[in-house]
Amino acid sequence: MNHRILTISHAHPDFSLGGGEIAAYNLHKAYQAHPDVEQAFFLARHGTAEPTTGTISIRRRNEFLWDQSLGDAFTGRAAKPEGTLEDFANLLRALKPTIVHAHHYWPMGLEYFQVIRTHFPAIKLVLTLHEYLAVCFNNGQMVKPISNRLCFRETPADCQRCFPQMTTQDFWLRKHRYQSYFSVIDHFVAPSEFLRLRYIDWGVAPEKIVMIENGQTSALPLTPRPLAEGHTRNRFGFFGQINPYKGVSLLLQGLAMLKKSERRAIVLEIHGANLEGQSAEFQQLIAELRAPLEKEGCLQWIGPYEPFQMASRMAGVDWVVIPSIWWENSPMVIQEAFALGRPLVGSDIGGMAEKITDGVDGVHVPVGNARAWGDALLRLSRATTEWDRLRAGISPPLDHAGCAAAHLKLADATLQGKAAG
């Protein structure tokens, strides 16, 4: 089949380096390279003006930017429906895609799904879900506001307890709206089984949602970090955003709970970004936890990094830690660490528990338990042979080409089913 695929992403990696947009863009590139794809296009939401204009501009050949945003974050309503009804529809008319592969839905508004279905009924519409925004109004975290307790179920009544200013009916209607627009999507893709099951619980038909892992850039595993005589695998690296859900504060608290003599044997590197965008209280907490540990030398605050720096930075650590206190989906850092041959230490919930196999390619730590994190770091810092065993247990992750192939296989099956039906 000669597909014409339009990939739609909530952001462009030229401007934003979140996992979802990187995955979407890499997949677009993989589509471009695939022999069954006649042409691939990339449309990324990118707010350039206030108020939102709804217009679409050209970023580069086959790549477009859409100045669209949400008029109502609660209901997922587009700020500029005209942009969806006119500019977006016109783009579809011009590009003539056979498949629209959407990543995310949140910042563009849900209406664009219906434009595709009503005005371009032949287009196959696939949506890759990168978080739980339809399920949870708390930034899609499925974590209770304020307390940061994990949320295990979604119902309008439960959600209302998290947002007392709203009514139960508000949440029912929100779900009704999301499900109504989701009903026109031919297939959903979940990068993790955990996320897939969560959306099934929420109401997506099981037969309409499959798990396809995000693709990774093919790379040879890094060589083990050279150890001096008598040294151990005691260097841990955190890579990612620094926000209350990512667990950095928990990690620092765990370290602080260890004896000073125990901490001497551990080095934790923080390669993180966006702390400055967090609340003052959170920044203060991090500052207070960080200062004494840095002074002792067990904490090294390295700071933000660019994607191309990932390999060199990861080469300097033995373990990659992912202490998130929310469920996660399929964090890019897990696949990146595996691709680079670094075992993971991660919270024992959600996408982390699914992607890291305890005792095979990494270690699980009880979520939200600072002392357990401290103990885990201490134990692992002393066990060089276990590191070797876990590193050997790592399986190479799916690469971009494999990921594209999996998606095309899904699309073909759906198209054939549609044709047969």
Binding site: T75, P81, L85, E111, Q114, V115, T118, P156, A157, T168, Q169, W172, L173, H176, R177, S180, S183
Partner: protein, 664 residues
């Protein structure tokens, strides 16, 4: 016979015939002989026998000569000049009569005297009658005589003896002095209210007369006219008019009043229409009771509310109380708050004035509906003349089987949800035309935006009707029905959402299942799956004493109550109401006699019953009914429902009795 008055003025001597006679030596005797003894009105010549009764030892049939010997200034003038009396010690005092009048079987005399004490007797003919004399202040007299104080210079005489219509005189004397008889007193027809106020005994009698009549009746009004303004309210009687409002002609007045239970107290307008507080719905006013806690009747329901049909924005309303001392105005209010002539606005204002449960029905019938009903009638008369603006999106079905009519009167945001559901139901789209009527002109822009968006997103055709006026649900539905082409009309609330296709087919099946089906409804559920409507039954709770519609199975889980197709029920909710177009038209559409809320739907069901048709509920057709934040609050809705229930009962109680007996 001899008039007592004359007797009081003269000594009468009677002599035998032949004795030298002394002719009358003053003009009074002349008058007596020349006129009254012989000819004048009712006067007659005395025979000897009669004279014996008044004289001394006269033999029968002997001629007599009457000799009048004046012993005092006879028959003193007292109404045109004051009479000077002289006491034994030589002191003098002046007396004057201001007014003499007969009032309700009494004779009342008002005057003044400078004497501290005065002996007075009322004389008619020769008879003396007891009287009651009271004293009161006369500052004017004191000023005229240069006295220090006007205290008690005035006097008021009241005599309720069985007097004839003839003239009366007074015999007046200073203590232990000879009396002076006045000339016959000149009477006048009426006393002024001020003069009446000086006659407590007379007022007491008139007050009692007032009490014996119904407030506002003609005799009551006549009695009221005779009561003067009292200077002070009686102890413990208080009142205040807190406000009044209306929307044009007629209004409601409210306030509070504390008074003995049997007090004669009323509101009156400038046109002398009277509204007794005893007939008004009263309500507890704890604040007033606490403020006057020392009163024996402080625990009474002090609050009052009254409908006064003839007051207007500039009217004066008074709260009046009758007492044995006269009438007192406890409170007064000029003008009232002018409300928009919108029944809902006025109802909201009415509902702000709470009433206890007991008199609620009384209040509804005497206050609320009398004020609201004309407004509703007037509003509806205006609304039927409206020509709605129709905005058509897409190409509607040319020959729809069903016209779906939705009065958009709540959250416009729900419109999108409803339209999405319709749009995703091919069966629905194939047989329907879709009307939205915007009830609130302020929602028009937003509703049109959503309609346009949904039409362009989904390709769904619909028509949005709007007017420059705010419409109630019934009016909106009637307006849309005039433009509807379907054989059936389906009225849906804007809160009702179908979740699955084919629900409309299920409703239509009700008409094929029962030849006598007049209206078909669905089971309505909350988003959580609890039943909100499953057909109505009628019940008379003891607390209300009137029929109320009771939801069947309400709040039960849907899956715990079996649902069959097309079951007969007493009535169905108008939130989902499928009816044949012809039948609907023959019944005149939705009743507009009710306040928005439960009422019109029940009314239409009863009208169907009267035609021999029945209401059915298809319990296998399940629609979601989202709740609506009451635009005017839950309390408003509850009170409006109560008013509607009363009106519904006034119209349909007999039919419901008949229906439940199985007559129909």
């Amino acid at each position: 016979m001899l008039r007592v008055g004359l007797q009081a003025a003269c000594n009468v001597s009677i002599f035998r015939c032949g004795r030298p006679a002394q002719p009358p030596s003053n003009r009074y005797a002349d008058a007596l002989l020349a006129e009254r003894f012989v000819t004048a009105e009712g006067w007659k010549m005395l025979n000897v026998k009669e004279l014996v009764t008044v004289g001394a030892g006269i033999e029968h049939d002997q001629p007599v000569v009457i000799n009048f010997i004046p012993v005092a200034p006879v028959l003193a003038e007292i109404q045109t000049q004051f009479l000077t009396l002289q006491g034994k010690a030589g002191q003098t005092a002046q007396v004057f009569v201001d007014a003499v009048s007969r009032q309700g079987g009494c004779i009342a005399i008002l005057g003044w005297t400078t004497a501290p004490q005065l002996d007075v007797v009322l004389v008619q003919d020769t008879r003396k009658w007891p009287l009651v004399l009271t004293r009161h202040a006369r500052g004017d007299v004191a000023d005229a005589f240069g006295l220090a104080s006007g205290g008690d210079l005035g006097f008021a005489i009241l005599c309720d003896a069985p007097l004839s219509d003839g003239p009366v005189s007074l015999r007046i004397a200073l203590p232990r002095c000879d009396p002076v008889q006045t000339v016959p007193l000149v009477e006048k027809v009426e006393l002024s209210l001020g003069e009446r106020g000086l006659l407590p005994g007379l007022l007491s009698r008139q007050y009692l007369q007032l009490r014996s009549h119904k407030v506002g009746s003609l005799p009551w009004c006549a009695a009221l006219d005779l009561l003067p303004e009292a200077a002070h309210a009686p102890h413990g009687c208080h009142g205040f008019i807190e406000g009044a409002f209306g929307a044009g002609h007629g209004g409601v007045v409210y306030g509070w009043s504390l008074h003995p239970e049997d007090a004669v107290i009323w509101l009156e307008d400038a046109g002398a229409a009277f509204f007794p507080l005893q007939d008004m719905p009263r309500r507890e006013r704890r604040d007033i009771g606490e403020a006057f806690a020392d009163l024996a009747w402080c625990g009474m329901d002090a609050g009052f509310i009254a409908h006064m049909p003839d007051i207007g924005p500039t009217s004066r309303v008074r709260l009046r109380l009758a007492t044995p001392q006269g009438v007192i105005t406890l409170a007064e209010l000029s003008g009232f708050e002018v409300l928009a002539p919108d029944p809902l606005t006025v109802a909201a204002r009415l509902f702000d004035l709470d009433t206890d449960d007991d008199p609620r029905q009384q209040r509804a019938r005497r206050v609320d509906w009398p004020l609201l009903a004309p407004l509703i009638t007037r509003q509806q008369a205006d609304l039927v003349l409206l020509d709605p603006v129709l905005k058509v999106f897409g190409v509607p079905n040319r020959r729809p089987e069903v016209s779906v009519i939705i009065a958009q009167c709540g959250d416009v945001g729900l419109m999108e949800h409803q339209l999405m559901a319709f749009a995703r139901d091919p069966g629905f789209r194939a047989v329907t035309e879709l009307f939205y009527v915007i009830c609130d002109p302020a929602d028009r822009k937003n509703a049109l935006r959503i309609a346009d968006l949904i039409h362009r997103l989904f390709g769904l055709a619909l028509t949005v009707a709007s007017t420059p006026r705010r419409l109630d649900t019934s009016s909106a539905r009637n307006l849309a029905s005039q433009n509807a082409k379907g054989q059936y009309l389906l009225f849906l609330d804007d809160t009702v959402l179908p979740l699955t296709p084919s629900w409309l087919e299920g409703l239509l099946a009700g008409f094929t299942a029962d030849a006598h089906a007049g209206a078909v409804g669905a089971r309505l559920l909350t988003p959580e799956g609890a039943i909100t409507h499953d057909g109505f039954g009628f019940d008379v709770p003891s607390a209300t004493g009137h029929w109320i519609a009771k939801d069947s199975h309400v709040r039960l889980p849907d899956d715990m109550v079996d649902g069959a197709t097309a079951e007969k029920t007493s009535a169905i909710d108008d939130a989902c109401f499928l009816v044949c177009r012809d039948v609907f038209d023959s019944l005149g559409g939705w009743s507009t006699d009710y306040l928005p809320g439960l009422g019109a739907g029940l009314d239409l069901c009863m009208a169907l019953q009267r035609k021999g048709l029945r209401a059915l509920v298809c319990r296998d057709v399940k629609l979601i009914q989202t709740s609506r934040m009451p635009a005017r609050g839950e309390v408003f809705d509850r009170k409006a429902a109560y008013l509607n229930a009363l009106r519904f009962n006034d119209i349909w109680a007999a039919d419901i009795d008949s229906m439940l007996r199985g007559d129909t």
